[in-house]
């Protein structure tokens, strides 16, 4: 005989305001098998959990139903409470009467009625629950970090510090990411390279860290603790182990007309290049799209070959092929970062028409001592010193979906204040205007920083938006904008215009999310497991999120999140084994006819067949081919259960009879 306890949570007023919780508890107390039905203000609180534990012990409950918030929220809490009181944790079911009832309905009568039905469904299901025991699976003691910007570097350093092996996979020729391109950082104005490059060196020298630069993750299989990733090391036509980074090859390369990607195309580099002086690894790479020899198609032809002649280390290898490495990992950290959006939809700002209209990241390079102008701010068009600069905020941010990104890119207000300040500091004869919609500066010392730009550096902040940018024949740029506070339309004769361009996740993030079976939001930012309580974990176990791949972030936030992701990964890697999900498929051998339908749909290869001896009713034995599921590999999707023509496959925790019982309870 079943003895079921029902516990209805008020969740303060979150549930109790729209659902009559007393009535729910009362109604459910009459369901068959229910021996106790109670309500309480906060079931998830210690007192609430004790209520459940006591009820289990006192009434010898065989099943527990908690009517509360989503099981995604507190299913584990209540399972643990049940286990503590000696009840198998898988004999607990949750009826979601908050997210899927009280929060979406307004009428108390109908909401209460629905809550009762959801409770009934959970009771019907729990009656068929069976005690389950979770198995264990080993954890590979190695982490994979995808992306080698400041987020990936910090995560890798922290994991290595804890004593675990880490591999960084970076798609560019060097690690460092966007921070390496930035000139100064807010709100302290210290030099980005000065604080980043020591970390890059530290990462390269740490014996626990392996850096795969110019590489991509091409496949990921497996599950938490037991991932297998394939890393494609793209051919760079240079033997990394031989190259000393002397740069002799870059000097002799006759093809010097390649847009320098590191400087965002603001100047040119050779076909063989080292992205920047402090690159890690400091190894040359040949761009096959520009290299005179490789472009030909046949490397044996006698063309150029100057770099190979110049290389005393013999590192140049025109015959190099892509290399694939397979490695096992216990945890994966995603740190794929961001990019400024393309400005093709914003030609009213003349970005594509006028060289002196630049993005903020381009301005970083223009002002950087290692940039195209050696740190002197000059107009890209005629290399003259600009005397009037206009900044436009929110370009592509806070837009309708058809125009741009719906979110605030978060970092632009601060870096624009930084740019304005740096320019006024270095070139006091330059006037700086900033057009803003709102100035958003939440953060420690952030608003003070922006106020300094206004009060100390006399930057002209104008509330309004630029409507049209017109390059003129005299080299000036007419900026037509509205000044909302003085209610007038302005025309500013500027020398340069800087667009605070919205940022978006890197393009590689979407296919990576598919590969890792993690979720993304509609803007292609990775979704965290819980917006508040689990900000650095993805909903897929064993995959962690670091930096701007999860949402726009500045450097301090990125570093904080990178370390948080590392600590979560370390928490996993220190375990020798992890508890598996016991809600896996199993085959009833007496019913199985060995048809292989289940094996064909299993995405994990968890199903194998064996020949087994069975006794027949005629006192003879027969050999039959039957399916068996490897519980450590099965992830519990249930595809096989539906494919099975004889109904032999079933899924623990979501069995055919359990789901059918829920259907019946709802439809009654």
């Amino acid at each position: 005989m079943q003895k079921i306890g029902v516990f209805v949570c008020h969740c303060g007023t979150n549930i109790a305001a729209t659902v009559d919780v007393k009535a729910v508890a009362e109604a459910l107390s009459h369901e068959s098998g229910v021996v106790i039905s109670q309500d309480y203000q906060y079931m998830c609180s210690e007192a609430g959990q004790n209520l459940i534990k006591d009820a289990i012990r006192e009434n010898g409950l065989t099943g527990v139903v908690v009517c509360s918030c989503s099981p995604r929220m507190h299913e584990n809490t209540f399972r643990k409470a049940a286990a503590a009181a000696g009840l198998n944790p898988y004999l607990v079911e949750i009826a979601n009467i908050r997210e899927q009832c009280s929060w979406i309905h307004k009428d108390i009568a109908t909401a209460t009625e629905k809550a009762i039905i959801l409770g009934r469904a959970a009771i019907a299901k729990v009656q068929l629950n069976t005690p389950l025991t979770a198995g264990e699976s080993p954890v590979a003691k190695r982490a994979l970090v995808i992306g080698g910007g400041i987020a990936g570097i910090q995560t890798a350093l922290d994991i290595a510090e804890a004593g675990f092996e880490v591999d960084i996979v970076e798609k560019e020729a060097t690690i460092g990411g966007k921070m390496a391109q930035i000139d100064k950082t807010f709100p302290t104005l210290d030099c980005a390279a000065c604080i980043l490059t020591p970390k890059m060196v530290e990462a390269s020298q740490n014996e626990k860290i392996t850096i795969h630069s110019y590489s991509e993750v091409s496949a990921v299989k497996g599950f938490i603790g037991n991932f297998t990733a394939t890393i494609k090391k793209k051919r760079r036509f240079v033997d990394e182990t031989k190259c000393t980074g002397c740069g002799a090859c870059t000097e002799v390369c006759p093809m010097q007309k390649v847009p320098n990607a590191f400087n965002l195309g603001l100047n040119n580099r050779g076909a063989v290049y080292i992205p920047f002086a402090q690159a890690v690894p400091k190894v040359a790479t040949i761009d096959p799209n520009y290299c005179l020899k490789l472009r030909k198609g046949d490397v044996n032809e006698k063309v150029c070959g100057k770099c190979a002649e110049a290389c005393t280390a013999g590192a140049i290898n025109y015959h190099q092929q892509d290399e694939y490495i397979e490695q096992k990992y216990g945890a994966i950290v995603v740190a794929t970062g961001y990019n400024p959006i393309k400005l093709d939809k914003f030609d009213e700002f003349a970005y594509n028409q006028c060289a002196d209209v630049v993005t903020s990241l381009e301005l970083e390079r223009l002002m950087n001592a290692a940039g195209p102008n050696g740190g002197t701010l000059l107009r890209p068009s005629d290399k003259t010193h600009p005397h009037k600069i206009v900044f436009v905020q929110c370009v592509g941010s806070r837009c309708d979906d058809s125009k741009g990104k719906p979110y605030c890119s978060k970092i632009c207000c601060m870096y624009t204040a930084k740019h304005a300040m740096l320019i006024r500091e270095k070139y006091p004869d330059t006037e700086v205007y900033v057009f803003y919609i709102d100035v958003r500066t939440p953060g420690k010392n952030f608003d003070e920083f922006y106020r300094r730009a206004v009060e100390q550096y006399n930057v002209h902040y104008i509330k309004g938006m630029v409507g049209k940018v017109t390059p003129k024949s005299d080299g000036k740029i007419d900026v037509q904008a509205s000044d909302l506070l003085s209610n007038e339309q302005l025309h500013i004769d500027a020398d340069m215009v800087v667009l605070a361009t919205a940022i978006e996740p890197d393009k590689t993030a979407r296919p990576l999310a598919t590969m890792l079976t993690t979720q993304m939001d509609t803007n292609d930012f990775f979704t965290e497991a819980h917006a508040k309580l689990r900000p650095v974990e993805s909903a897929t176990a064993g995959i962690f999120l670091s930096g701007a791949c999860q949402g726009p972030k500045d450097i301090p936030e990125t570093v904080a999140q990178a370390s948080a992701a590392a600590s979560k990964a370390i928490g996993l890697l220190v375990k020798d084994s992890i508890t598996c999900n016991p809600c896996v498929a199993h085959s009833n051998e007496l019913m199985c006819n060995g048809c292989s339908a289940c094996e064909k749909v299993c995405p994990y290869g968890a199903i194998t067949y064996q020949d087994k001896e069975f006794r027949t009713p005629y006192r003879t034995t027969v050999m039959r081919r039957v399916a068996s599921v490897n519980p450590a590999v099965c992830q519990g999707c249930g595809a096989c259960t539906v494919a099975c023509p004889s109904g032999a496959m079933d899924l623990n925790g979501f069995s055919n009879s359990q789901i059918m019982a829920e259907v019946d309870a709802i439809c009654k």
């Binding site: 309708d400 125009k403 938006m465």
Partner: protein, 127 residues
């Protein structure tokens, strides 16, 4: 009264004025800005406040060129020109409130004036 007018303007324009984030880009791009007493962003805001009559009595409604620069450039697709048009219609639909009458035409004519200008002006200024 003004509530009815607001409803009418919103329905007739098909614009959701609440989408506006008050950036002022419409007014920043408007070629008729200097001729207008109330500017595109003010149209949107004043319609939201329900202050329609002020707009109806202003000459600004006859200054909009319907060039759709504000419509295309608005970051939030608010479409201010459609609001201006709805307010203008509310004004000229009032009996005897036509902004242009046929008797005025002969003195405006010159030998090159295209018919298109006359047709368009009638469509914009009269009912």
């Amino acid at each position: 009264m003004s509530n009815n007018l607001k409803e009418q303007v919103i329905r007739s324009s098909g614009v959701n004025v609440l989408k506006c984030m008050r950036c002022g880009k419409c007014s920043g791009t408007c070629p008729s800005y200097d001729e207008m007493e109330y500017h595109p962003h003010q149209f949107v805001y004043m319609v939201e406040k329900g202050d329609i009559e002020t707009l109806m009595n202003s000459d600004s409604i006859y200054k909009c060129l319907t060039c759709f620069a504000c419509v295309d450039r608005c970051p939030r697709s608010v479409e201010p020109a459609k609001v201006v048009e709805a307010v203008r219609l509310a004004a000229v639909r009032i009996q005897g409130n036509n902004h242009l009458i046929p008797d005025q035409i002969p003195e405006m004519l010159d030998e090159d004036l295209p018919q298109q200008a006359i047709v368009t002006a009638f469509r914009k200024y009269t009912k």
